[in-house]
């Protein structure tokens, strides 16, 4: 094989190893989540905004969330239609919430209709002052720890925004049983010869911008740390690995 092709083949092999195509076998393929809705209410606003939360290890329960208004000329979205029984019908009893004074729509206790797992303090907060409006889902997973999203990789990108149509809706994967994944917070560039601080969330990735769903409290025991292995190429082009320990918390 000509040297140039050998180099190309090696580069492709490196990419496949480091960035394997498609989601791992132990996580749902969120690109294939059914985005159909069986029934929607007559919205008051001209532009409802759509978001989707999927629960459990297989993302079986699809909980649509649609922001609406009480009046067409209301300044902000103050109604949330949420498909709590995950049947695709947003007109069910108890599925129309109004915003509280704390800018949150409170669901309270919630039972995943697919797995039976019970969670507490389920709420959705809309950042009223933010432009564009951003949304944050939060709950206590199985009543044990706060879990929520969606988080961006870089704060400049902004937090999760709902979409104007279901096909574009961000998908949050709400799953706190593990195995967990990680997402960086800042840290896209590291200095050669330096030791830059690298921060990560622990949780689950979603589908769409700013859809990481993270543990919102430190769930690791104090003595535990996160292992970060830098995979890089040295001056000779040879792959090297350097293990670092992320022991700090904030």
């Amino acid at each position: 094989m000509p040297p140039m092709l050998e180099g190309l083949a090696a580069a492709l092999a490196y990419l496949v190893v480091v960035f394997p195509p498609g989601p791992p076998a132990d996580m749902p393929d969120l690109s294939k989540v059914d985005r159909s809705l069986k029934a929607e209410p007559v919205y008051v606003t001209e532009q409802p905004l759509y978001g989707l939360a999927v629960f459990g290890p297989k993302a079986e329960a699809r909980v649509w969330m649609v922001l609406d208004k009480t009046k067409p000329d209301a300044d902000s979205y103050d109604v949330l239609h949420v498909d709590l029984d995950a049947d695709g019908d947003l007109t069910g009893k108890g599925e129309r919430l109004t915003r509280g004074k704390d800018d949150r729509f409170h669901v309270g206790d919630y039972k995943d209709p697919a797995t039976g797992a019970e969670h507490a303090a389920f709420s959705i907060r809309v950042a009223i002052e933010a432009k564009p409006k951003t949304v944050m889902l939060s709950l206590r997973w199985r009543g044990q720890f706060k879990l929520g999203g969606g988080y961006p990789v870089d704060p400049e990108a902004g937090y999760m925004q709902f979409a104007q149509k279901p096909a574009d809706a961000p998908v949050l994967w709400v799953h706190g049983d593990g195995p967990f994944r990680f997402q960086r917070w800042y840290g896209a560039k590291l200095t050669v010869g330096g030791a830059d601080d690298f921060k990560v969330f622990l949780g689950q990735p979603g589908r769409g911008p700013s859809t990481f769903c993270a543990a919102q409290e430190h769930i690791l025991p104090k003595e535990e740390y996160v292992k970060a292995t830098l995979v890089y190429r040295d001056g000779m082009g040879k792959e090297q690995r350097l293990v670092c320990e992320l022991k700090e918390r904030c």
């Binding site: 840290g187 560039k189 990560v200 690791l220 535990e224 970060a228 292995t229 995979v231 700090e248």
Partner: protein
Amino acid sequence: MLYHGPVRVPDDAQPGKAVIRVELPAGSKYETAATDIPVELVRLKPKK
């Protein structure tokens, strides 16, 4: 709710694309799937 710490990049690392593989060590209370996070290695320009 963030975990963080210094990631040292050796002097002889090639600038450009690299990966940080993040996971919990064996024996952790929780199970994790190793997550490969793409990063860019950059060399600071020397001060004039």
